[in-house]
């Protein structure tokens, strides 16, 4: 029964990883840029949300509602100041620039908030510990909410990309920018919108991070790693692969942790490496995986 419980908790943890990975994967799909500041920006979102709801004295949920537009705005700034210029100058520049951004964000947060770990647990009341009991199992309401959010984000993204005009424009821009421009798509604006959207997802992930545990200014690096692992593991080449990848990572970590707490992260990294090696061994290469992902995802 312990095993069943571990699997359940891992599944729910996977929802968080999927939510975290969605923004990274989406931005890669549209712009072919892996944003090395992804984790740091999620942590930034959590800090922004905390500042908003504590200074205004409103509920964390209202704080989240105000934080998401701020993140969208940051997405616009990120696109115009960093991503758009770096796209033009070879494959190395986006990596170097976003790594610089991560370093900048982490240390600005540290200089403003210090090294203390923060969390929303005290402010979200019952939600942080309430759970439903199903027989001998306990299902955390918060984790379920986060899992549902991840499903909603991924589902919403699928609907957006396949059914709406902006979604079609995003897909067209990702597939062939020149052709999209010839057809009258303002690809620059489309990329700005995509970046804003990605940052809203990053903001949601930041809120989930703060609600389900603690964060500190230097928590960004690990979040980037988890997000990337979820994207790579979930290599079924579909939108929902991200969810599967997150769940596999979550279960691996939970099972590893149930053997020995030191093994939590080691198990996650090991599964990631194993998937990576198997996939590379099959010859497709992770690049072709990402290409198939982009075709289906975006």
């Amino acid at each position: 029964m312990d095993l069943l419980n571990d699997l359940l908790q891992g599944l729910l943890l996977g929802g968080y990883y999927a939510l975290l990975a969605s923004g990274l994967s989406f931005l890669f799909g549209v712009m072919r840029v892996i944003n090395l500041a992804h984790g740091s920006l999620a942590v930034l979102g959590a800090f922004i949300m905390m500042v908003i709801y504590t200074t205004l004295g409103i509920s964390p949920l209202a704080g989240l509602a105000l934080m998401l537009p701020v993140m969208a705005l940051l997405g616009v700034v990120l696109q115009l100041l960093i991503l758009e210029p770096s796209l033009k100058s070879g494959p190395l520049v986006p990596l170097l620039a976003t790594f610089g951004l991560a370093l900048f964000t982490d240390n600005v947060l540290f200089s403003v908030f210090g090294a203390d770990t923060q969390g929303f647990a005290a402010d979200i009341g019952d939600l942080s510990y309430n759970s439903w009991s199903i027989g001998p199992l306990y299902v955390s309401q918060l984790d379920t909410l986060i899992f549902a959010t991840a499903v909603a984000v991924l589902g919403g993204l699928q609907v957006l990309l396949s059914k709406t005009q902006i979604g079609r424009m995003i897909r067209a821009t990702a597939e062939d920018e020149d052709a999209a421009r010839l057809s009258g798509v303002d690809t620059r604006t489309v990329r700005v919108c995509a970046s804003a959207l990605a940052m809203v997802m990053v903001g949601l992930a930041g809120a989930a991070l703060g609600a389900r545990g603690s964060f500190d200014p230097y928590a960004g690096g690990p979040q980037l790693i988890y997000a990337f692992e979820a994207v790579v593991i979930g290599g079924t080449g579909s939108l929902w692969g991200t969810l599967i990848g997150g769940v596999v990572l979550g279960i691996a970590q939970t099972l590893g942790g149930s053997i020995d707490t030191h093994l939590t992260e080691i198990a996650g990294h090991t599964v990631f490496l194993a998937v990576l090696i198997v996939r590379l061994g099959r010859g497709g290469g992770i690049g072709s995986y990402f290409r198939t992902l982009r075709m289906r995802f975006v």
Partner: protein, 364 residues
């Protein structure tokens, strides 16, 4: 048309500069007898930075691989020294082998990591660095995050130890720089510079891209491992969190970008600059790191050729002969030979548009 071309590698300036560097090396060898212990310690730190900058640039600048996980090799080199020393190896022999241990690790990883592209490689390396850090922390000798010390070094006189560490760092720095210099001058060097300029084009003209990248990957790991060993020899204590910290990679990126990525001289200048900036602003702590982040962003976006790349393009400086200079010797009337290589020598002649060392000069 009786134009002929000679390929020139050494110019008068580069001969002078190489001689100056040789003299500087001899002077640095003698430095512990000439300057105070404090200066010796600072110079050792500088050597570590130069090793890190040169090798990261070898990987990113020439191999086109942006690794955010080089701290793995830095930390693993230091860890290997601890382990070898604990196993009874004389401590200086262990220090000399730290880099080799990291090279060995890289050799194992290269079989699959080098198939990754761009950002996938970057984060993949970071994941591996985290994994290696976690595994090293599990070793009872390291005692988790507490860390351990290279106790064997405590038996030596502090002054002698300081000087020995200095010489170790100096020799390793010179060795890494010389190795890269010779590599770049070899046949492989032409391949590497072609990969740097355009990987796809290099592949299409038959450059064997994969082995060239692998050698850069091994060299970068070897260098980072050596740097980790020297750092351990000078600080003695080993904490996994410090040695496997991603800030090492941040420093490497900063030094390489500011100095000039894909040039031989640039990272060395970047390292000296970083060393000076750290000496001046290191006390500011976090604000100094914010500055490093802003500078990395700024240089990547606005000034990607870096200081040396700019100087090189502006003044055609060539201090170290890692490239080719093509000289046109016209047998016909003067003036006919003006222009760029087209006839006989053209097959071997690099195109005039390439940045950096490969440059076709006009009639001499």
């Amino acid at each position: 048309m009786t134009e002929t071309y000679t390929v020139q590698r050494w110019t008068r300036r580069s001969v002078t500069c190489t001689a100056v560097l040789g003299a500087l090396f001899v002077l640095l060898l003698a430095a512990p007898a000439l300057v105070s212990g404090n200066v010796v310690n600072h110079l050792t730190t500088l050597f570590v930075y130069v090793i890190l900058a040169i090798t990261w640039n070898a990987l990113a600048g020439y191999g086109g691989l942006v690794s955010v996980g080089q701290q793995m090799f830095f930390g693993f080199g230091a860890y290997a020294v601890i382990r070898l020393s604990a196993a009874g190896m004389p401590v200086y022999a262990a220090l000399a082998l730290g880099g080799a241990a990291s090279g060995l690790l890289a050799w194992g990883l290269s079989s699959f990591m080098l198939q990754l592209r761009g950002g996938e490689f970057s984060i993949g390396m970071w994941v591996l660095a985290t994994l290696v850090q976690l595994l090293v922390s599990l070793d009872p000798i390291v005692q988790g995050a507490t860390g351990t010390s290279l106790l064997a070094l405590n038996g030596f006189d502090p002054g002698a130890r300081r000087d020995d560490t200095y010489w170790l760092g100096l020799v390793m720095m010179a060795g890494v720089a010389l190795a890269l210099f010779l590599l770049l001058r070899s046949r492989l060097g032409a391949a590497l510079q072609a990969i740097r300029d355009d990987e796809g084009a290099a592949l299409s003209v038959g450059v064997r891209v994969a082995p060239a990248k692998r050698i850069m990957f091994l060299l970068a790991a070897l260098g980072a491992g050596m740097a980790g060993s020297v750092w351990l020899a000078s600080s003695i204590s080993f904490q996994p969190n410090t040695y496997f910290g991603v800030q090492w990679t941040a420093y490497m990126i900063f030094m390489t970008l500011v100095g000039g990525i894909g040039t031989f001289e640039g990272p060395i200048i970047g390292a000296v600059l970083f060393f000076a900036i750290e000496a001046a602003f290191g006390d500011l702590g976090v604000w100094y790191l914010i500055g490093v982040g802003v500078a990395a962003m700024g240089f990547a976006l606005l000034f990607p050729q870096g200081i040396w790349g700019w100087l090189d393009r502006r003044f055609a400086l060539k201090l170290l002969p890692v490239g080719y200079v093509l000289r046109l010797q016209s047998g016909g009337p003067r003036g006919l030979g003006r222009g760029f290589a087209r006839p006989q020598g053209a097959a071997k002649a690099p195109t005039p548009e390439l940045p950096g060392e490969m440059r076709v000069s006009g009639q001499s």
